[in-house]
Amino acid sequence: MNFLNSKNKVGSSFILLFSLIYLAAIFEIPVNESLSYDVVSARTLPYCLALVAILVCLLQIFVSAEDDSEESLHTAIQGFQWRPCLQLTAAMFLYGMSFEFLGFLLATFLFLLVGFAILKEKRYLLSLAVAAGVALFMWLVLTQLFSIHLDSGEVYRMFFGS
């Protein structure tokens, strides 16, 4: 079977790559010479893990015929809707990045609104109401009911001071 079409091989290659980076990073770990009674150092277990992972990956890629019979990657991803999925991931990423700047309320409101739009909700007024409602409701419950401190955000401070 074509290499790029086998789910097993693609996945194993990915983990192999990760393991190699992991292996390289092990040599950055300092070893404390003064702890002679600790026969296992901070490097020992990572070292074993990296070797096992690399071995299994190589097995998967070159030897194993494990479920090669299953559907190929190509057919498996047929009809996948990559666009909304990627857009949502990007929206979450932006939510995380802008959380401190926008503050809980504004960031959440915008994230939900964008999320609804990505998933093609056409009733804009309803979207607006739900996004505002959920953000406000959660904010009230968390800050007022449970007195959890949520940062009000740079934007809020720009307009209202601290």
């Binding site: 404390n32 010479e33 003064s34 702890l35 009674y37 600790d38 007024l125 309803l126 109401a129 739900v130 505002a132 409602g133 959920v134 406000l136 409701f137 009230l140 007022q144 009911l145 007195s147 401190h149 940062d151 401070r157 601290s162």
Partner: protein, 331 residues
């Protein structure tokens, strides 16, 4: 509330807005008074931990005794406490009313160059509670006195393995090493067995895995009173009023006093009037019966050090630990 929450999604938006209104009214019953005498606590760890309970205990005593109008708490964990320090420094200009809680391990971590920023970049306000290092054996242990244990240790350090609730080079390890070194033995030969919490280390001792436990006095005292374990020594300067039967290292001719303080820091560049007014508030709290109640419940020892003395105290503790960390080769 679950029910309402669901309906909030399910019903049309006319109803939604009504419900939001309802919640606004409902929640405004909970007063959210914003004033300058409201204190804000920054806690470098999660809810329910040691820093968290201390900060909330102090905040509770301050508000209930009416010294401040209210207190809010912000948990900002990450980086083993260093995220909160960095946050205090970055946002110093709007942390005028903020107290960050901290304790001895933060000095140790700064020493080992783990943190990019040091506690020295912050404004020390005051230490409020203390805990002391305690050396604990099982009730059926053959050691009755500290010196008996030392004698055995000198024969072979493997006779006395020490459990502790911190990593190697962490506070419990360092305190044990200090005590051993002051007792005239080779602290480098110490077999320190790390556990990931004081309670787990206690289990290690009780299940006969180790012969000695190095931990905080407050964590061991209840079990000692109930006769499960015996405390050979602790590192306070003198016997404590709430535990008069526990001997200090000093009276056993070991010259070591070690205090695990918990105290507060302000943002860098906090004005002197602000610092002294915060210190006054904490001093006033010390007199209140609310504080006394919370303190005894939690088993905390009083330790109030403010102003210049606090800075000097921190420096002394740092240099004392620095020598040992270097001796052990842990830096």
């Amino acid at each position: 509330m679950n029910l309402l929450n669901i309906k909030l999604f399910r019903t049309q938006y006319t109803k939604t807005s009504l419900r939001i209104l309802f919640y606004c009214v409902f929640c405004s019953v909970v007063p959210a008074a914003l004033g300058s005498d409201r204190l804000h606590f920054l806690i470098p760890g999660g809810a329910g931990g040691g820093w968290d309970t201390t900060a909330r205990g102090v905040g509770e005593a301050l508000t209930r005794s009416g010294i401040v109008a209210g207190a809010s708490y912000e948990n900002r964990s990450g980086g083993d406490g260093s995220k909160a320090i960095a946050y205090m420094i970055e946002t110093a200009d709007r942390q005028k009313n903020t107290l960050m809680i901290s304790s001895t391990p933060i000095i140790l971590k700064s020493l080992k160059n783990i943190f990019p920023q040091s506690y020295k970049d912050l404004t020390p306000v005051a230490a409020v509670v203390a805990d002391y290092g305690a050396f604990v054996v099982k009730a059926d242990s053959k050691y009755q006195k500290w010196q008996q244990m030392i004698a055995d240790y000198q024969l072979d350090p493997r006779n006395v393995r020490v459990a502790g609730g911190s990593v190697i080079g962490g506070m419990d390890h360092v305190v044990a090493a200090m005590a051993l070194s002051k007792s005239g033995t080779d602290a480098k030969a110490l077999r320190y067995i790390p556990y990931n919490a004081g309670a787990k280390a206690m289990v290690g001792l009780l299940s006969n895995e180790t012969q000695l436990l190095s931990t905080g006095l407050s964590e061991a005292i209840a079990l000692a009173e109930q006769g499960e374990v015996r405390i050979l020594a602790m590192t306070a300067p003198a016997r404590l009023s709430h535990a008069p039967s526990i001997p200090t290292l000093q009276e056993q001719n070991i010259d070591l006093v070690f205090t695990n303080w918990r105290g507060f820091f302000g943002a860098p560049g906090m004005s002197e009037e602000k610092v002294s007014s915060l210190q006054d508030s904490l001093g006033e709290m010390y007199e209140s019966k609310e504080w006394e109640e919370i303190r005894t419940q939690r088993g905390w020892s009083n330790l109030f050090i403010r102003g210049k003395e606090f800075t000097e105290f921190l420096q002394a503790q740092e240099s004392e630990m620095a020598i040992l960390v270097d001796d052990l080769g842990l830096r």
